[in-house]
Amino acid sequence: MTEIILLSLRIALVAVLLSLPFAILVAWVLARVPFRGRLLLDVFVHLPLVLPPIVTGYVLLVVFGGHGPLADLGLAFTSTGASVAAAVVAFPLLVRPIRQAFEATDPALLHVAMSLGASPRRAFFTVALPLAAPGILAGALLAFGRSLGEFGATITFVGNIDGETRTLPLALFSALDVPGRESEATAFAIASAVLALGTLVLGELLARRSRRWTTG
């Protein structure tokens, strides 16, 4: 039980850390960089939200699986692969609050930084990014919570391997499959619910603390 919880937390954490830089980049582009095809990128980013997770898993298998173009990365049927599956599915939830935070930041705050000699890169890292921290935190926790509960894409892409890819939802699925393991299934369900709840509560507490520093 403990091992399964720890594995789930690790996979979810790696999923968030892995996708965070991409999410920040995409959120910035969507919020601040006008270009043709922004709508297309927007739709593409939101796709995993509406696509059946099993389809997402299948796409990942086609790309990273045995005969896929990126098979050499060896992600299929590994815990890192589980993180990738979770990251893809949770990506829209990660991007959205970060994008909103970027959009809410007064562009004049960046202009001032540039007028003081800061390159756009420095202005981004010293002004835009710190001011978006509450949004980044909110997105990260939301994505973390979503990753903990990821099931469809995971089982399709990396299977249900004990000690490698069997996270809480997959363990619950396995327990339900075998007669006489109902109490175990209940324990997995409760653990999932507690973790999800804990993530939300933590997110709310941190949001309250961090909200103060962006209100000048």
């Binding site: 004049a108 202009h111 800061a118 000048g216």
Partner: protein, 350 residues
Amino acid sequence: MDDGLILDGVVARRGGFSLTADLRCGPGTTAILGPSGAGKSTLLQAVAGFLRPDRGRVVLGAEVLSDAGARSWVPPWRRRVGLVFQEPRLWPHKRVLATIRYGGRYREDDVIAWCGIGHLLDRLPRQLSGGEAQRVAIARALMARPRLLLLDEPFTGLDPARRRHLRTLLETLQAELSIPVLCVTHLVPEALELTDKLVLIDGGHVVAHGDLAGVLAAPGAFALTHALGLENLLEVEVIGPGDGTTRARLGAHEVLLPETDLAPGERGHVTVSPADVLLAAAPLTGVSARNALSGEVRDILPVGDRFLVHVDVGQPLRVEVTHAAARELGLAVGRTVWCYTKTWACRWWD
């Protein structure tokens, strides 16, 4: 004009708005005056580099900042143009010391002393009052060692005491750093206390630039000076104090004005609103108004439901009268009239 700013045939578009500007601003403060929507902030954006002009050149000192013809453009972060907005735009997450050091540490101790922010260095923006935040914003701009300072409506939203304080600060900067300062404002008195170099902008065009007298005389500037309450600017020479007032010479006339710091023999400017001048067809006797100026009517201009009468009293004096009054007086171009004002209706500019 080695350290001045030149806008040479600049055309800059923002949204549906277009600004056309030809300007030369030397060292010292230049006030950009105009109603809202005139193009003042578009001008600042083009100079700061956040708006790329479609045409023309922007030159600062020896460097061409942008030249639409040659397709050259210096990005904002290489221009060293300081920006101070009406809203201080401090970064909510940075303390004052980190804020002001962001762009450099040019004359740090001096700047902190000038701006009077020594006791605020470890505060966050939300712990500052409006006036304090603005001084921090000015310090931040100065410590990056700007070659040009742009102030966007710096006086707006400050109470009179803070305005005086800010004016003193800007005068200090002018004495200590010989950089051009462009100050956008719609508050004429503040602008005139800062400088005698004015640029009038309206409808996306520079209507006039020069000193106050020059700006007032410029064709096309009248509607604007009217809106700004600046129609009459009269040059006088102080004779001396007289019973709580000041005696002064206005051309051939002697007038009584409010007290002033000017010494006898010095010249200064007073303004008087056209509505505060009484017009008479013949000299009046037994009136309380102290100042009588006679002159010839040069022009009668309809403005709204009134006439604005231009009387030449040695200098142009504009007087507002109703249509009925104009009829009864038999006003006509070429006629001699007498203009009366109270002492307290006249205000000193300098």
